[in-house]
Symmetry: C2
Subunit: 271 residues, 2 copies
Amino acid sequence: MLYLVGLGLGDAEDITVKGLQAVRRCRRVYLEAYTSVLTVGKEALEEFYGKELILADREMVEQEADSLLKEADVCDVAFLVVGDPFGATTHSDLVLRAVKLGIPYKVIHNASIMNAVGCCGLQLYNFGETVSIVFWTDTWKPESFFDKIEKNRQNGMHTLCLLGRKIYEPPRYMSVNQAAEQLLAIIQKRRLQGEKPEITENTICVGLARVGALDEKIASGTLQQMSTVELGAPLHSLIVTGTMHPLELEMLKLFSVDSSSFENNACQRTT
Amino acid sequence: MLYLVGLGLGDAEDITVKGLQAVRRCRRVYLEAYTSVLTVGKEALEEFYGKELILADREMVEQEADSLLKEADVCDVAFLVVGDPFGATTHSDLVLRAVKLGIPYKVIHNASIMNAVGCCGLQLYNFGETVSIVFWTDTWKPESFFDKIEKNRQNGMHTLCLLGRKIYEPPRYMSVNQAAEQLLAIIQKRRLQGEKPEITENTICVGLARVGALDEKIASGTLQQMSTVELGAPLHSLIVTGTMHPLELEMLKLFSVDSSSFENNACQRTT
């Protein structure tokens, strides 16, 4: 059996009881090392699980999948994924390969950023398409994510922006500040082109850091405020709000950088 | 401290290790009994947690919140929610009331249907707005969910349809068959009105039952096929696909009712 086990978002104890039981009974346990930052080290996980972990980077999963799946038809192998195995990144490749080899698989779900962002009080129902904001280079400054955020907002929907990373050693992760600055730069540029973007400096946004971890931090305020808010270590995510229900607004105020930011936000959802 | 603890989607063992530790140290433990169906009984949870549970229906949470939160500033109280505490339903009311009373709170996340649907192979990234399909009555046949599904599909996005329930004793939950029949009825009606809906009998859909539980069932096929597919006991969810990436399509074929349903689905996402 191949177990795809979600580890959740915080530390070693965020694994489910079912997941922990599966891990402890597996002959080999792989830890996905390429789509997410871990808030605790591999060693902390190994100690808690009582198992040695094999780090699996993208290359290994793609090119050595057969060795990863070796004998998984006669013994148990686990593949551990931060968040949910089918959260922000999918592991369809591995599942399809297992199925072709006649290896049964089981998914043990957990929280992922895609649902845990609900903790800020915005309803998951009211989110449109999720976008990724990537690091700009001198020559590559894509803006497609901005158009999607605009479209969501025009439809009254919130947008979860997953923030990119640079593949360095160690990798660098985009902060809410950097994401906000890129959005502000696009707004400026479009105004110079004679457009009038729906999203402005005063659009209410939410910055989230280390969601689900003990030192989680949430800050709400204007897009302008997001460019300077202090949220600390990665991972960060940014939400650009659409139309807000009064209860959503009241929740966001719990996390406000400056309560006056909300005074002019009269645009509320009433149903 | 007020702990809002997600129980995940399957059985007692889907709670996280952190959640279980919190529950075991709480003086009172409430179990939310109104937004989700449990796949195991209250007794099974009580035995596993080693704690007595107090069932909290919506009326209790809304009208007796103060007794629920009583002494939570000096002792620990847990509120258990199937799925994630901020998944398909939000518990903002309770959080806001706790904050007003000066009671600190902590959220222990878990999987919810909003992210666990990724197990069918469709990327969560590619989902638009989530909709709820409600039971029609003789005099009330809303169609607003259909317009949202159409809009998502026009934008190439998949739609997760959460299926309604009737407040009976015991409550009745909508099946994928019933949801598909309502969608087919709307398509027929609109054609009679001279419209040409984007969604047809042949649109590829995914029916999911008891996601995350041991007897989870996933079936993919046309909307027409969804009206007769056998998925067993609740809870059910339905996905209406948008534009599919080849890898998404390959995953869906693992669950196909009839592989020929996919033959004419040439409309694929290429990036």
